[in-house]
Symmetry: C2
Subunit: 306 residues, 2 copies
């Protein structure tokens, strides 16, 4: 049995005339007659009453007509839906990101993707770099937004943007009074860093700055992610070092301040498995690339102006 035969059958069932049906199907009448005869033979059933000069559907023909309509409609739906998903116009995209990414351009990027592909369902979650790597490898997510970039040859990556590091300080008179803070002067402070595991991690980047500035922090508090670290800062446990984009979101008990000293900056990068060429992923990277370029351009313009 083939779809073609069902289509032929439907045409004849609707026209009740082989010649007209053949015309409508853009073919000659003899092969159409033969296909219908073959269909009847295949089913072992009379589908048409050919008595006299007039053709009528038998009961069996009527039920087959009903089924054929539904089958072909369903086939058409399968066709359209599959093509749409295959083109990335629908489906599902699982994105995970580090906590500190939710303050930068990532929200805009996601908004842009949503408006470009409204039918793609986004599954968003937040995790630290190590979990991002594991989840990506195990195909639990499609896209990882990490800081700094994940070291894995099997990943496709696109740099979203670079930014300076700033200090996240508890809102105390001690810090508020200072016009300028030198990193080297922070040796006796408690540093709240993250993630605790696995090491080396972003925490070691900050410890690297300390070393470069000639000290080891007096006290070290390690948390699992950025959000927890900032919480500890807000209740006065100590200070932290964060990407400057997080300063856009003000939080009671926390003040953000630039510092004087070694500032390697930090970069936000999106990743996907190289072998995951799903159109949803490729489209996301496409939009991300445009966003990254525009953002870089804007920073450059702003820098030139200042």
């Amino acid at each position: 049995m083939e779809f073609k035969r069902l289509r032929y059958f439907l045409a004849v069932a609707e026209e009740l005339h082989f010649g007209r049906a053949a015309t409508r199907l853009d073919m000659a009448q003899p092969p159409l007659s033969r296909q219908i005869a073959a269909l009847e033979a295949e089913l072992g059933v009379q589908l048409f009453d050919r008595s006299r000069s007039q053709i009528r559907l038998t009961q069996a023909g009527q039920t087959l007509q009903e089924h054929a309509r539904q089958i072909l409609a369903r086939l058409d739906a399968a066709y359209r839906e599959t093509k749409l998903i295959g083109a990335g116009g629908a489906g599902r995209l699982r994105i995970a990101f580090v906590g500190s990414a939710s303050h930068g351009i990532l929200p805009n990027l996601i908004k842009a993707f949503r408006s470009a592909y409204p039918e793609v369902e986004l599954a968003l979650s937040s995790m630290n770099n190590a979990d991002l790597q594991r989840a990506l490898v195990q195909r639990e997510i499609d896209v990882a937004v990490a800081r700094p970039e994940l070291k894995d040859e099997e990943f496709r990556r696109e740099l979203l943007y670079r930014e300076k590091l700033i200090l996240a300080l508890p809102d105390t008179p001690h810090f508020a009074a200072q016009a300028e803070i030198r990193f080297a002067d922070l040796a006796d402070q408690t540093f709240v860093l993250y993630p605790r595991r696995p090491r080396p991690s972003y925490a070691d980047v900050v410890l690297g700055i300390c070393a470069r500035e000639g000290f080891q922090p007096a006290r070290l508090e390690l948390t699992q992610d950025f959000q927890s670290a900032i919480s500890l800062v807000s209740v006065g446990v100590g200070l932290s070092v964060a990407p400057e984009s997080v300063a856009r979101t003000q939080r009671p008990g926390v003040i953000y301040r630039p510092y004087v000293g070694f500032n390697p900056g930090t970069a936000l990068t999106i990743h996907a498995r190289l072998d995951n060429r799903a159109p949803q992923v490729m489209n996301f990277f496409g939009i991300a690339r445009k966003h990254a370029r525009r953002h870089a351009q804007e920073r450059k313009t702003a820098q030139d102006a200042s």
Copy 2:
């Protein structure tokens, strides 16, 4: 697109291995690979991730798999249902019969058909001979059970059984007292006959008997069908002449009695359009033929014994 391709696709989607899928489909691997590739080309969509040595369904592949399952299930249902109806094992059969048929073997015949083909829906109705003929010609019914047989070369027919005529008399002392009733003695009675239109009809058969017995009824009351005629007899309007099978159903106010005199008998015959070779009709005729034979045999045996 063809069903075969969907089946191939499903096999590969389930096995996730072209070689095993090909074995399961009882074919070689290369043509299977080609068919899948053709399907992907036709849809313009990647259905499988062939990265590394392992095969995975893409999102598009997953949705197609879902659709394909439903389409093939539906196709299978269409197949089975159409074949069943085509073989007469299901569907619908419209039977109409004259009122006087509901007392003879027709109920048994219908019961027999129902138990042989329980899935065939029976649409039963009652009408007089003239309407039976019209309804059959206009394809409003499939089978007509008529008395006497319908004169039309375009009908297939099968005689169900012949029977004697008897008198249907009002339950009065006058008739109850007589041991034997001679038809010729009924000249001064009111005859309740049917149908009124169109003529000639069964009413004229009875008038023919009267003529043969040498009289015309003193009074004539014409009704549209057998049921109405018997009702009139039951309230004492007059007498009627009926097939003896109706006597099996006793009715208050009516007594059935044989008579002495000319008795041409009457026959119940089933009809269908010659061009209606629907299996439901053919099956009904088949059962009817068996019933007719058995009934004739029983009567003969009973006759020989007496």
